[in-house]
Subunit: 205 residues, 2 copies
């Protein structure tokens, strides 16, 4: 597919570099932008440039932040005794969305994955250990994906954190709320039986 | 979902304005851009601004063009006797992709659709009639979608063009090449029987 317009081709080349966007979808996006006023396209493009030029990592939790320290780390209205370890900003957003967590976060910036060449030294693990050691943190919650890489990373962190005087927990694995037993995979169902919880605690929330 | 970063929120707002892109997908695109070098993001954004500021409509065929007249209209190496009428640039690209058409194009810029409030006067129809009248165009090929709106527009154009000394044809409707009869819808199959072609002409290409 060739548009015979060099300008369109260049924009499509750029847009199709986004994850999961092919040239046809990119062309659809580009034609949509062409239907807007030049000022609007300018605003669209500038929001990306401004973001890239001004975003940084929070010095405390390593989450993406507009300032030196992010708003979650800055607020005094959160529990310093609870620290939740996550992979990236999307997990922070997902957990914040539940409204069930009032502690602090620590963003690893990835997950241990020999397949993708990501080793522990590339993640924010040393700063996690430093942050927990001798602090008021009483419990570290490992909130990583229930994948092979996630479990490996959790185990690595558990080993790193266990010499410190801190409880280490992991978010519950089990049948999804609203999920039917019949359609739950065997591994999840099996673990949900092994890791059963006292009925009273299931009434919480 | 809130990222607690105003910069990210603004970029996600902008990106999620693209057709079919929700906030989750927009965030994925934005995080992907954040992983690139600032120069790369600059190049990405500038390709959109440059496009929007410099693109125009070809004065002859009304296709999107980098210059006053597009490269297809400018080249002398095409058949001036054949004019193909299409809805927009995507159709030009699709037909060019087949390598089966060597004539010129005329881009309507849309399709008659009372439901969407698009009337004939908003399309490049007057300029089509002017262009065909008293020119060397011998045949106008209507290459519009096989939808209700496409058929309506084709009929309208046929009425407009029939007083002129020009043949008007429409692209063939029928069973797709590689398509199985069993899975072809009844209307298409019905028309493919009514509009059957001499066997010899089906051997062309």
């Amino acid at each position: 597919m060739n548009s015979s317009s060099r300008l369109i081709e260049e924009a499509v080349d750029q847009v199709s570099s986004l994850p999961g966007v092919g040239r046809k979808t990119a062309l659809r996006f580009v034609l949509d932008l062409l239907r807007r006023k030049p000022e609007e396209v300018m605003r669209f493009a500038e929001s990306l440039i401004t973001l890239r030029d001004n975003i940084r990592y929070c010095k405390t939790c390593h989450n993406l932040s507009d300032e030196e320290e992010c708003s979650i780390c800055k607020t005094p209205r959160r529990d310093n005794g609870l620290l939740c370890v996550v992979q990236d900003i999307r997990d922070v957003m997902a957990i914040e969305g539940t409204g069930q967590f009032s502690g602090r976060y620590h963003v690893l910036g990835g997950i241990i994955s020999p397949m993708d060449g990501i080793s522990p030294s590339q993640l924010n693990i040393d700063s996690l250990v430093e942050r927990v050691a001798g602090s008021e943190v009483k419990e570290v919650i490992l909130a990583l994906s229930a994948t092979m890489e996630g479990e490996t990373t959790s185990f690595y962190l558990f080993k790193k954190l266990s010499p410190l005087n801190v409880a280490v927990s992991t978010i519950a694995r089990g049948v999804a709320v609203g999920g039917e037993l019949e359609y739950t995979d065997e591994v999840t169902l099996g673990r949900s039986i092994l890791l059963r919880t006292p009925y009273e605690s299931s009434l919480k929330r």
